[in-house]
């Protein structure tokens, strides 16, 4: 975690398709189960205008103990990256 203390996630809304893979894989990091409700990331798809509301809460540890943040690694659209705070 130390090396990641000064990092945060950044999403490019132009590339994000709202697939929620980040949400799913985040929960897999934390609990090794698939549980969007237990994810640090929340993605809300607003169907009436196509908006994608994306947020990350304080439980995000940038996937401490893994090779790197799962949300970044598994985003099919390369819409996420970790950047210096």
């Amino acid at each position: 975690m130390d090396a990641r203390r000064n990092m945060r996630l950044e999403r490019n809304p132009e590339l994000c398709h709202g697939c929620r893979t980040c949400e799913l894989m985040c929960s897999f990091h934390h609990h090794r189960i698939m549980a969007p409700d237990k994810s640090s990331i929340q993605v809300i798809r607003r169907n009436f205008d196509g908006a994608i509301l994306w947020s990350v809460d304080s439980s995000c540890d940038l996937c401490s103990g893994e090779d790197g943040p799962f949300c970044v690694k598994y985003c099919p659209y390369e819409a996420l990256r970790s950047v210096t705070r």
């Binding site: 398709h17 697939c19 799913l24 698939m34 549980a35 607003r46």
Partner: protein, 639 residues
């Protein structure tokens, strides 16, 4: 195949709801999954086990079954929900398949399948949340469009994350071509599943889940997912799709083979729409792309094929929504409308009304052609001028179709009854397979056509059609799209691959079909084994696919009199040669078609004369019980 010990992937429960009695119960999914894995195969098994032959679609005993694929909620690309029931067109197997986020939500709510039987007098919706279900009054929702229904339910339930699958006015009015709309934009379109839902007076499913799914072998799962994601990212077609959407892929090449082969024009009479019109529709500055402002993906999908469009000027100003544009291209070409604005408007209107695009397009195009030939007069159209290219007429006629008003009442009778009512030989101009409208080509693209003709769900294009060969299929058979030879092997293989995709809920565009061509059967095996803790080989998966296909075949045999003759193309395509384009002069030749059918039935081990299944074939598949059912109905070949 011995019974399987499944350790992950499934939510665990099958929900059963009887609308007549109000009784709600559950059963463990593994009861069925140990033999059939999941998705459509379990839906099919439930149908064949529980529905008496002879039951018609409108009887309360007809179950409407929703089944999430076994890998939905875990594996990348798996988002699909299979909806199975008795078809309103054939009274045989009805099946539709839909993406979006509903299937995953259902699993996080604790259910892999939902079986709905019975009917109510007053409209209801089903609220499913975290292992519980409740039948709720929907009188206030009846009459609403699918958009209004979703908005209202989300507001009432106070949660934007609630997922809704619902019918629109078309389903309420029992229009056969009614679909169930998911997330507003994705349609479970075929077999009239929305009509069955409307007949049950079930307006919607609203689902919310906060639960979880297990992955049996996490390390294997990482490996399989890494491989799958790399394949998607390395796929040139996938890249095109998520950068430009499917419409973009075609827009990039309006002169491409797809247009010459697949997208017919003017009620299917012409195989090849004029290039200038294709260019007009897809023009980067004035065509579809002008109005497309973002692209959205289904749950956990790496392809993202759904554009969100908005029209900000002109007579259709204010039109906006998510919609799928490959089928939309056919709406344009079948009615000869090259302007994108009325087509976008009409497509989104169909989504709101809950009308199946193929049904509405085919019935409209039939009316347009009949009008042009003087078989339908202005008095009968309510004054509408149904001349090719009249987009305004299309837009004004669609709501009438959904509510059975004026000419809409005639079109809503469907492709058998409507021409009977109009007479004058108009049945020749109504394109359908086994009573279900079809927009598919039968003359130039031989493998595509064979897949459509032999589809267990009457003339739909997802059960074995091949455009450019089954990319991952037989390597020892050459594939040329416009020749008859060799097609059956590819169609057979592609059909089985699709069965596996529907077991696990994988989208065909991510998988083996004419989309990204990214994942193949070996990837499915790796993902299933990792998630569910199993040890399938590719061959064993193909065997599972074969069993799934044979279940549907048996259901059709038990419930209908469909026979070999019904697997032949519509009469128009056997009689009229293609009038123009690269394949000018070709038509569906009956003797060659019969050869393809012989080969196809042989590959499946079905009897060539009758197309019926055999006892030895079913027994070899571990389906002796199904053979017994067929034998009891006198519909099994005893060899």
């Amino acid at each position: 195949m011995t019974e399987l010990n499944i350790k992950g992937g499934l939510a665990g429960q099958i929900l059963r709801v009887d609308l007549s009695s109000g009784k709600i119960s559950t059963k463990e999914t593994t009861t069925y999954a140990r033999r059939w894995i999941g998705g459509r195969a379990i839906n099919s098994a439930l149908l064949i086990d529980e529905v008496k032959p002879g039951t018609r679609w409108s009887e309360p005993e007809n179950p409407l079954i929703f089944g999430a694929g076994a890998l939905v909620g875990t594996a990348i690309g798996a988002s699909r929900l299979s909806v199975d029931t008795i078809s309103v067109y054939t009274n045989g197997k009805g099946s539709a398949n839909v993406g979006g986020h509903l299937a995953a939500e259902l699993k996080f709510a604790g259910f892999d399948h939902v079986v709905i039987t019975g009917k109510t007098e007053n409209p209801v919706y089903l609220w499913i949340c975290d292992g519980r279900a409740e039948i709720r009054d929907a009188a206030h929702l009846w009459g609403m469009t699918t958009y209004e229904t979703e908005d209202r339910l989300k507001a009432e339930l106070g949660d934007e994350a609630v997922r809704v699958g619902c019918i629109g006015p078309a389903g309420e009015n029992l229009v056969p071509g009614s679909c169930i709309m998911v997330d507003r934009a994705k349609a479970a379109g075929g077999s009239g599943v929305g009509c069955v839902m409307g007949d049950k007076k079930l307006k919607a499913l609203a689902v919310r889940g906060h639960g979880s799914l297990n992955v049996a072998r996490p390390e294997d799962f990482f490996k399989a997912t890494d491989v799958a994601l790399k394949k998607v990212k390395d796929s040139p077609a996938a890249k095109k799709m998520w950068q430009k959407t499917l419409a973009g892929v075609y827009a990039a090449d309006p002169c491409g083979a797809t247009w010459d082969f697949i997208i017919l024009a003017k009620n299917g009479r012409e195989e090849c729409w004029e290039v200038e019109k294709r260019k007009r529709l897809l023009d980067p500055r004035n065509g579809f792309p002008k109005y497309q402002n973002k692209v959205l993906a289904c749950f956990n999908c790496p392809i993202g094929c759904m554009p969100f469009s908005e029209i900000t000027e002109g007579p259709f100003k204010g039109t906006s929504g998510e919609g799928f544009w490959v089928n939309t291209l056919m709406l344009a070409s079948w009615l000869d409308i090259p302007e994108p604005e009325p087509i976008i408007k009409a497509w989104l209107l169909m989504n709101q009304l809950g009308l199946d695009g193929d049904f509405a397009t085919a019935m409209m195009a039939w009316a347009f052609e009949c009008f042009g030939r003087g078989l339908l007069t202005k008095a009968q159209t309510g004054g509408l001028d149904l001349t090719w290219g009249n987009g305004e007429a299309l837009v004004s006629l669609l709501p009438k179709l959904a509510t059975r008003e004026g000419l809409g009442a005639l079109l809503a009778l469907g492709p058998i009854e409507a021409p009977k009512r109009l007479g004058q030989g108009s049945d020749y101009f109504c394109m359908h397979m086994k009573g279900q409208p079809t927009l598919e080509p039968f003359r130039a693209a031989k493998g595509w056509a064979l897949g459509v003709a032999t589809s267990p769900v009457a003339g739909r294009h997802l059960r074995g059609t091949v455009l450019l060969g089954s990319r991952f299929g037989p390597k020892d058979v050459d594939f040329e799209a416009h020749v008859y030879e060799g097609q059956a092997r590819h169609v057979y293989w592609q059909g089985l691959a699709k069965e596996i995709e529907d077991l696990i809920g994988m989208c065909v565009y991510v998988g083996t079909w004419s989309g990204a061509y990214a994942l193949e059967v070996s990837d499915y095996a790796a993902l299933i084994n990792a998630v569910m803790g199993l040890d399938f080989t590719e061959d064993e998966l193909m065997l599972l696919g074969k069993r799934s296909r044979n279940l549907e075949k048996a259901f059709n045999t038990l419930h209908t009199d469909l026979a070999r003759a019904d697997d032949m193309p519509p009469r128009r395509y056997t009689e009229e040669p293609i009038p123009s384009g690269p394949y000018k002069g070709e038509r569906a030749e009956k003797d060659k078609w019969n050869q393809m059918l012989d080969e196809f039935y042989d590959l499946h081990g079905w009897d060539k004369d009758t197309s019926l299944q055999t006892r030895s074939g079913l027994t070899a598949l571990g389906m002796a019980d199904v053979a017994e059912k067929l034998a009891a109905g006198g519909k099994l070949i005893e060899r």
